[in-house]
């Protein structure tokens, strides 16, 4: 008797489960193949990295005050030009040696290194502290290619990531950024941000996913910026790194930055 009731309940339970799963099966059966897919042209890599060849960059800065990469990046991504330093937004910017490399800077370094600014951007760290502290996963490390992404839709503006990032790579929108964009310069194919979200370099995921190089890399006329997959021994970045001594910022913090500097 006891056993019978158990059997009955088991069978009943399984049937109910099966019935409730029916719509799912029907939906799956109707699918004629995937409804969505990546662009076949998308660039593929396991961890994107960038080399900044400061020697080449400084030559251009001396010659013509070159800011091509900054201008290209900020124009394409509708990054506003806010004069107030406390509210400025930057994705790629210039910084003095002693601030960029505070752990290794010393007063006897070559004049050239001490006096010329370095080109800085988000390091798309291998072990990004910003991602660990984000409570909403608005910033996350993209699994297939290691880009440290920003999902602006999810950002709640808590600024934990800004406190977590040891490189100052993140900016906060204290107000609506739109008044600081020149209407004629706005890129109509890319969104702006709104008040209360954090932003930073995204390694141009929107371009990589369509098979294009990052905007700053494309804009640099002397190839001072080189982009590629650091895990691929045949990539250009790996070839350059194996032939030149390079620096990374604040490696002792264990964030595993993926932007390399040649000087």
């Amino acid at each position: 008797m006891e056993k019978d009731r158990r059997e009955f309940l088991k069978i009943g339970g399984i049937s109910v489960l099966g019935l409730s799963a029916l719509p799912v099966f029907q939906a799956l059966a109707q699918e004629k193949g995937p409804r969505y897919k990546p662009d076949p042209k998308a660039l593929k890599g396991a961890q994107w990295a960038m080399i900044v060849d400061m020697k080449k960059c400084w030559e251009q800065q001396d010659k013509r005050q070159c800011r091509d990469c900054i201008l290209a990046c900020h124009k394409i991504h509708n990054v506003p030009d806010i004069p107030d330093q406390k509210r400025e937004i930057k994705w790629i910017w210039l910084e003095e040696y002693k601030h960029a490399f505070p752990d290794q800077a010393h007063e006897y370094a070559p004049e050239k290194v001490k006096e010329n600014p370095f080109m800085l951007l988000c390091n798309h760290c291998s072990n990004p502290p910003c991602v660990r502290v984000c409570p909403t996963k608005a910033t996350f490390k993209r699994k297939p290619d290691g880009i440290v992404m920003m999902d602006f839709h999810r950002c709640i503006g808590c600024r934990y990531c800004m406190a977590g990032c040891p490189y100052g790579a993140r900016s906060f929108n204290w107000g609506d950024p739109r008044p600081y964009l020149k209407p004629e310069d706005i890129n109509m194919t890319y969104p702006t941000r709104r008040k209360g979200v954090v932003e930073k370099c995204t390694f141009c995921y929107e371009r990589i996913d369509e098979g294009l190089q990052p905007a700053c890399v494309e804009a640099c006329k002397v190839k001072a910026l080189i982009f590629g997959d650091i895990t691929n021994p045949n990539s250009e970045v790996r070839k350059i790194l194996s032939g030149h001594y390079s620096l990374r910022r604040k490696i002792e913090l264990g964030t595993g930055p993926n932007v390399y500097y040649l000087i």
């Binding site: 992404m149 890319y190 996913d209």
Partner: protein, 125 residues
């Protein structure tokens, strides 16, 4: 009843004022929204009935597919591939936010915040 002279007119005035929106709009139903459909395309990324009621769900799905999972292409019911992008796909066909989106959104009194970041097409009217 004490003070009936004051209370009765008071109640009357209150009822009249309280029902003011009702009778002042009587017989003047707001016209049904008429979103303008694109002339160039016949088929959307899903069928019309679905788009009418579920486009916001689809947009959220697209958002996650693109931003979080690096997908870019959407296969429509007719097998045609579409680039998943509000600014660069939806608004290419529906090229006027005023004549399309705003029509129903204003009627229904909803204010989607898409446009705080996504840039709406320039209205050349």
């Amino acid at each position: 009843m004490y003070d009936a002279k004051k209370i009765v007119p008071g109640i009357l005035i209150f009822v009249v004022l309280f029902t003011f929106p009702l009778w002042s709009n009587m017989g003047k139903a707001a016209p049904a929204p008429k979103p303008e459909l694109p002339k160039t395309e016949k088929v959307c990324v899903m069928d019309t009935a679905y788009m009418k009621t579920e486009h916001m769900v689809l947009l959220n799905q697209w958002r996650d597919l693109v931003v979080r999972d690096a997908n870019r292409l959407w296969v429509g019911p007719d097998g045609k591939e579409h680039f998943m992008s509000l600014q660069n796909s939806c608004m290419k066909c529906h090229s006027s936010k005023v004549k399309f989106c705003d029509q129903c959104h204003n009627y229904a009194g909803v204010k989607p915040y898409c446009w705080q970041c996504h840039i709406e097409p320039k209205e050349n009217m």
